[in-house]
Symmetry: C2
Subunit: 144 residues, 2 copies
């Protein structure tokens, strides 16, 4: 269950040091199974300790993303969200007008992502990103 150790091992294998801060941050986000902002992770650590710095949270989350262990996503609310593989592959439709966020199954778009993989040799798995546009409601009310 705790995939934390897998993540931590990968970091160690890549030559990064395992610090108490990193262990705690990885534990929190991997076990949550959802999107978390840096500030949310920060608050969660405060339940256990007071020795955590927001810059360290950002740096650790960025480290996970950089190594393919987490994804960064813009849900249009002004703050970046992070999630590990536990969160599963899917795409978010973010309405630029009302801000509504719809989750769509990755299979609805997998054909194109496979194409990107084949043609451009670009790896975007696990599929987790957002497409910003207009939801049905907002398109109906706006007479563009």
């Amino acid at each position: 269950m705790p995939h934390c150790h897998t993540y931590l091992k990968k970091l160690r294998d890549h030559g990064y040091r395992i610090t108490p801060q990193r262990e705690m941050i990885v534990h929190i986000i991997a076990h949550s199974g959802r999107h978390m902002s840096a500030e949310e992770v920060m608050e969660k650590t405060r339940e256990k300790t007071s020795s955590m710095n927001i810059a360290t949270v950002y740096r650790t989350l960025d480290l996970l993303v950089e190594n393919g262990l987490a994804t960064r996503i813009d849900l249009g609310n002004g703050k970046t969200a992070y999630a590990t593989g536990e969160h599963g592959p899917h795409v978010h439709l973010v309405c630029r007008h009302c801000g509504s966020v719809t989750e769509i199954t990755e299979s609805d778009i997998s054909a194109s992502l496979d194409k990107i993989e084949d043609i451009y040799d670009f790896n975007c798995r696990p599929y987790h990103f957002s497409v910003h546009g207009l939801c049905r409601n907002c398109r109906d009310t706006n007479t563009d």
Copy 2:
């Protein structure tokens, strides 16, 4: 050629006021035909006048996006980029490791976007967004 007037007319039709600031900003980004950051637009206005505020630039660009007249995109360099329809529909592949940006034709992914349109009734045209992942080079060197 100057689609500026079309953009400005749409804003006016939507009930927004046309100010010198908005005219200048729309003119700059529409004629550039490329991605521009808020700061780049700001600098460009300084060639003509000194009465421009960065908050106004952000507000105007956001207004264009909100009304479907421009797109906002994250090219992974720490600052948001904006572009009007003149920039054309396409998708950017942004490598999370080396930061390289590859432009792919919209047709390579249009099937999936049509699907999103059909199934979820969500409008994401003109297609202009980025997918963050790993380019070939960075995947080869990193033994994940």
